[in-house]
Symmetry: C2
Subunit: 413 residues, 2 copies
DNA sequence: TAACATAGTTCAGCACCTGAATTATAATAG
DNA sequence: CTATTATAATTCAGGTGCTGAACTATGTTA
């Protein structure tokens, strides 16, 4: 076949960039007002670069739809010219519930459309994997509790967001595996929706935490950042271009199982040298027994063990100190690797373990900076957040809120 | 101050997702046709989900502007119904040159608007850092050479893309540091444009390679993938949502300087335990001297040393084999870490070093898969590419092509 | 030769945004 | 107290970009 008869192969990406996230001007206006708390039409014009005519027309639509309202009870700013009228979200139009399921304590938050927390609830549960319907019953108790506190009913709720540890398929709403569930490949979303009749948005816990930072925390003003959490394991979430990055295969971003040492310490995943095997609670606990001169038969909870270890370290026990110090060095390595691979604007470290300040000392931070190439630029910023247990559930509300917002605005025109 | 008088803090991301990459329908059509090589209007309709009316009108615009044309010399596909008319890019409308600057050999590629390579050129140069005007003179020689081969002149060129190693600020067109340049903080782009009168698009070499895979290689059909290259150093590029990810601070994605061992081997960056310190040519070379029983005074080039080492390993020298085997294991660790942190759909390994098949053996691949959590899903695909030296320069043409395309289409309406 | 199948065109119309002119509402200067 | 000025918001004609339905074009098949 001659050359000019052959089909040319072409060049360039075969797939166009995902344009699903291109939002209508109405939605951009709404989200800007919600993000600012309150904004005048002129604020909107400047922030979004639209014309004055559009601002009037589109805010009128949103006000007519009942999603926004003018604020007139507020004393207006003084100055020359016609005073600006502030616009705000009508909070009560849509309510969502965010839930964090974990090993020992579940928690739930009821949030209005403006992002205000209306009620919270938590529930102690026996640890270990359970059948799906047991988990759903626990969820039912939580939902009932938060609704009760706020004096609302299920019918008032627009959607529910749930975050849980394990392998979670956000898109499909299924849970291939979770330490909380006795069964594998669980169709969580369908089961939930048939039981509660409410839309459910499901994701893994690290993504929930990341969403919490993006919606309510230090990540709000950053377009690219990473969130690292140290709990039972070491998790990570990533925001790229102001959106949560979920990976191509829907696997979590498993910072805890990156290797920091060939043939290193044994991890609970069965491999060796995982970061988690130097940082997670079980990793510290197994060395703690040695440092505290416990006998193998003296069993106690990892939590109690770590607290004892921390007390010892603080009072000068060198063996105890080296345990924390080594963990801190490995944390620095893990963070440095994230910086080298992603070049984020900010890393947020979040988690219960915040109390063990050895892990969050300036020493760790400067070690991290030492381990990264900087070439004269400002080093990557690092923040640590000691938020309460409810962050996770709040992140889950953000997941539900964004979905409900999409629908509410699409329903206007 | 009362609570209802306080400005609410609001919630949600403060910055909207970057919408600069939202392309006009005209551009999407053009890029689809170029990506497919040839496409009928009906292909476009199906691929982009637009109406038939739009396809007619917009292709007519593009044809009128001289960017596309109908193909009539081709025998049409047989079948029922009116035969479809294929559309293709008019190749000669805009030409670009892509250039890769490196230590010993520069290379250049002249490409037409359809992505066809019209001419190539390369230039041996003395190694080591040089003043900017020396580099620009070398560039001038290259440009002259490719134009000469194709019988074109500078006036025919729409833009130039250049890739070089070092710290390159793509946005500003500056080079804070490069092993090729004697001076720091070099305003490369301005100097180039005043000398040649042509628009220049500059980026680091790893990004060029990644663009080459996105435009011409295995990455064309993937929306999220990583490219890893092993040369003097270990570089990485990342494509997220079909676009090159450049990081928040414009630093490269330095896979080579992620730490795989606390207090490990000494890296040329001055730190210890960098992946590069186990994989790069200098890392192999310094152990090669030992394995080959060379005396310290027997100096030879790293390249010759490695070739000798490879021959020895092939012929059964165990010391030589362990050098490659260890490098292979560390490569597996590095790749596994990328998989755990990014969850890409594909990793492409590319580089000259392809010849040392120890590094690309199935053994390395299976070691990598062993080092990643998979949870029953398909493991991350890995491909190795032994492309010639011109890949880099072709990637640079892609950089220039995409910019020229943006402008050409924006100029229509 | 009629019936069909597929490709492509034409055009009225809608959604969405801009830009200019206009109105609204305040502080300030004379 | 009125004119001036500054800022905010509205109104509306008009352009752009797309859709959807009716229509035309051009081949194969029965």
């Amino acid at each position: 076949m001659l050359d000019d008869l052959a089909q040319p192969s072409g060049c360039g990406p075969l797939l166009p960039p995902d344009s699903a996230h291109v939002k209508s001007m109405r939605q951009q206006i709404f989200e800007h007002v919600r993000a600012a708390g309150r904004a005048t039409r002129t604020d909107v014009i400047r922030a979004l670069g639209i014309s004055a005519g559009s601002a009037t027309a589109l805010t009128a639509d949103l006000i007519a739809a009942g999603l926004l309202r003018e604020v007139d009870s507020i004393p207006r700013e003084t100055g020359r010219g016609r005073p600006a009228v502030a616009i705000e979200v009508v909070p009560q139009t849509h309510l969502v519930i965010g839930i964090k399921l974990s090993d020992a304590v579940h928690s739930a938050v009821l949030t209005d459309f403006a992002g205000n927390t209306l009620a919270t609830a938590s529930l102690r549960t026996p640890a270990g994997p359970k059948p799906l319907d047991v988990i759903l019953t626990e969820v039912a108790t939580l939902v009932h509790d938060v609704l009760d506190v706020a004096g609302k009913s299920t019918g008032d709720i627009a959607a529910v967001g749930i975050g849980m540890s394990g392998i979670v398929d956000h898109q499909a709403g299924t849970v291939p595996w979770s330490p909380l569930l006795a069964q594998r490949n669980c169709d969580f979303s369908t089961a939930f929706q048939t039981r509660f009749g409410l839309p459910l948005y499901l994701d893994n816990d690290a993504n929930m935490l990341t969403l919490a930072e993006l919606w309510f925390g230090a990540g709000r003003a950053k377009s690219d950042f990473a969130v690292v959490t140290i709990e039972h394991g070491v998790g990570m979430g990533l925001v790229i271009d102001n959106r949560l990055y979920r990976g191509a295969r829907g696997m979590g971003l498993e910072l805890g199982h990156t290797k920091v040492q060939l043939d290193g310490a044994l991890c609970r995943c069965g491999q060796r040298g995982c970061l988690e095997a130097y940082l997670a609670d079980y990793a510290l606990a197994r060395e703690a027994a040695t440092a505290l001169h416990h006998q193998p038969h003296e069993r106690q909870s990892a939590h109690a063990l770590l607290d004892a270890l921390f007390t010892q370290a603080k009072s000068g026990n060198e063996a105890a100190q080296t345990i924390f110090r080594r963990a801190g060095r490995y944390l620095a390595v893990g963070l440095a690797n994230v910086v080298q691979l992603f070049d984020p604007a900010l890393i947020i470290i979040s988690g219960e373990r915040m109390q063990y300040d050895y892990l969050y000392a300036d020493e760790v931070l400067s070690e991290m900076h030492r381990l990264t190439l900087n070439d004269g630029r400002a080093p990557c910023a690092v923040e640590t957040h000691a938020w309460g247990d409810l962050v996770w559930a709040r992140g889950a509300t953000a997941l539900a809120l964004s979905a409900v917002t999409d629908q509410a605005i699409a329903a206007i025109s």
